[in-house]
């Protein structure tokens, strides 16, 4: 098992390097850089632009150099010092800005995944064992709603009802009191009180697929001879379903943790922009529009790394629940 995990970790490394190269290349695509757009902004506001100061800033961020040298420096900083470069807009190191937001993105993703599983597994099993019943149809309808209505639209709808009916502002992840407070248990509790609505929104969008997968897989499974045999031996129906076919039917859940995580990150990004949550979404949008490239690059790279890690976790989970894979690998 350890060897299996070790091999998986080794495979991750080239993927991450490739992602970092692609990320950096994309960020070089737009014409101009942060300083040119910054200067243009200053001029638009009618302020004097000090060319010399700009030049010295350009020097400092290493912008005049060839791309591969910039990339090399960036990578070297990350690997040796954990230095993700300077955010030009915030005038602070990227690493100071990013970890808390990334943590919230992860918390939201994991939380929503737990909610999805809590919904999808029992509902999927019920749907499959009571095929063509009323709840089965209701669940199909529910899952189509999830497919059709994207998370950011749910966010808008909820924002509307909260504001117009309850007079609540659902934006943000913290109460005002804790917004700039250091982390404490009270703050974590406060966050959870705000977290469940966005987590539920993300879960709605992403549960539908999982619900349908559970149902379809279980339907395939329950007609197999071993189920018949277990039934013939007199096993109670509940025990029979949950102990054997469900376990097999859940395999795809584990194998798709990585993709599911990637999808959730997408939903969270858009939704956070609507609800102005303190996740990576709004920060990335802002960094992109102001061409704050080290910040934007770090966000994209780290989000991709999350997916890679998610895939690793799903490989490990799968090997753990399914001995066939472990032995083969």
């Amino acid at each position: 098992m350890l060897a299996y995990i070790g091999r998986r970790v080794l495979i991750m490394i080239p993927t991450l390097i490739l992602i970092s190269i692609v990320t950096f290349a994309i960020l070089q695509l737009p014409p101009g850089d942060y300083l040119t757009s910054y200067a243009a902004q200053l001029r638009a506001m009618g302020e004097q632009v000090d060319d010399e100061a700009l030049e010295s800033l350009r020097e400092r961020y290493g912008m005049g150099q060839p791309v591969y040298i910039q990339y090399g420096k960036w990578m070297w900083g990350i690997i040796t010092r954990g230095d993700w470069g300077q955010s030009m807009e915030w005038q602070r190191p990227v690493s100071e800005l990013i970890w808390e937001k990334l943590g919230l993105t992860v918390a939201l993703a994991v939380f929503s995944m737990l909610i999805s599983w809590l919904i999808a597994i029992p509902m999927g099993v019920y749907s499959a064992t009571h095929q063509y019943s009323l709840p089965d149809y209701l669940m199909s309808t529910f899952s189509f709603l999830g497919v059709g209505v994207p998370a950011f639209l749910w966010a808008l709808i909820i924002m509307y009802f909260a504001q117009s009916q309850l007079g609540l502002n659902v934006g943000g992840l913290f109460s005002e009191k804790y917004l700039n407070a250091p982390w404490s248990w009270d703050k974590v509790w406060d966050m959870f009180k705000h977290l469940w609505i966005p987590a539920l929104i993300v879960a709605i969008e992403n549960t539908a697929g999982e619900l349908r997968t559970t149902r379809a897989n279980l339907l395939d499974e329950v007609n197999k001879p071993y189920v018949e045999l277990a039934r013939a031996k007199g096993l109670s129906e509940g025990r029979l379903i949950w102990k054997y076919p469900v376990r097999v039917a859940l395999n795809p859940f584990f194998s798709t943790v990585g993709w599911s995580l990637a999808n959730r990150i997408s939903s969270i990004t858009l939704m956070s922009i609507v609800l102005s949550l303190q996740t990576t979404g709004p920060m990335q949008l802002r960094a992109l529009t102001s061409q704050d490239m080290y910040l934007a690059g770090a966000v994209l790279l780290l989000l991709s790394a999350l997916t890679v890690i998610g895939t690793l976790i799903s490989d490990i989970l799968l090997a753990w629940v399914d001995p066939r894979i472990r032995l083969e690998g």
């Binding site: 992602i19 960020l27 737009p30 189509f144 497919v147 924002m159 990637a262 990150i265 949008l285 934007a296």
Partner: protein, 395 residues
Amino acid sequence: MAESERALQVDARPDVEEEILLEAGATTSMGEEVYVAPPWKLMWWRFRKHKMALVSGVVLIILYFIALCCEFVAPYEPNEASIRFKQVPPTAIHIRDAEGQFHWPFIYQHDRSMDPESFLITYVEDTTIRYPIRLLVRGFEYKWLGRLTSDLHLFGLHPDAADKQGLFLLGTDRLGRDMFARVCYGARISLSMGLVSVFMSLVLGVLLGGVSGYFGGKIDAIIQRVIEFVRTIPTIPLYMTLSAALPMDWPVVRVYFGLTMILALVGWTWMARVVRGRFLAMREEDFVLAARLNGSSEMRIILRHMLPSFLSYIIAQLTLNIPNMILWETGLSFIGLGLRAPAISWGVLLQEAMNLRSLVLAPWVLVPGIAVVLSVLAFNFVGDGLRDAADPYAR
């Protein structure tokens, strides 16, 4: 030739035959018809059974008609702002007047008044003045698809009523622009964007997926790794980064095609997986072997024998991919990184809803969202139906 091969397959599976007979609601005379029915007919019979797919198909036809003829369907110019009709709620259509008399559908004159304390504007119906809704009226002049000049519109009020009262089926926005007209124009960009980007992903997907599945081996392994790699990067953050790279000063048309390219960049991986899977399955089929023994060239085998038999799968997969494209475009334009005003797409229109005040005062700015949901669901149902019908010989 492909059809006779299919007939052989059917003969080999009597149970399938019966099923098709049952599906077609067969009597003995129908039975004859099933034996000789070409594949597309069998597919249609099967598709027809999926009622939701059928309904959704009709919905899609209507939506695409609106997209194609948005100038004709929209009663007002989408960019025509009028401060007098600011944030008007959707106009109620009546068929019965205050005295209980029935009429051809009409609307009442709306009087605008401002609350002296809250400064909120309200519109009250004045039941003494009626405006009948007329079909095929003259309105603003347009060039249909840039060619045909006309001023004919599907419906509207009499041109004389234009500056007194408007017919706003879905209300108006903050600047007094007709939401219905804007949603119609938005349909043209949003719905066509779905088709164009899916088509681009199809070209890439069929090419790479086909190569991957047909040749196998090392090429297959490389392409599979590339697909996994592309899918590792979370889609929306990747799209955001890519579309932020589109220069701000590009004209709308260029941004449009730039966006479709970006969407296709990830979309092709789904197509490629399906195509590869079909190729792998088909490579082992007897009729491919037969064609090869007959001395057909590889190209001929692919185009003449393999392509027709998995075309239906591709079409089903395409249909299921379009909603993703629509959702992605909407999401990107919505946060300001896709198309930008003055271009009108559903995502651009939804930006209005980001303004909390606007959203609360005029909740109908969410209507473009309903249009998105409607088209996404319709494509999903039709795709489901097509997938079930894709292989009419399977059980």
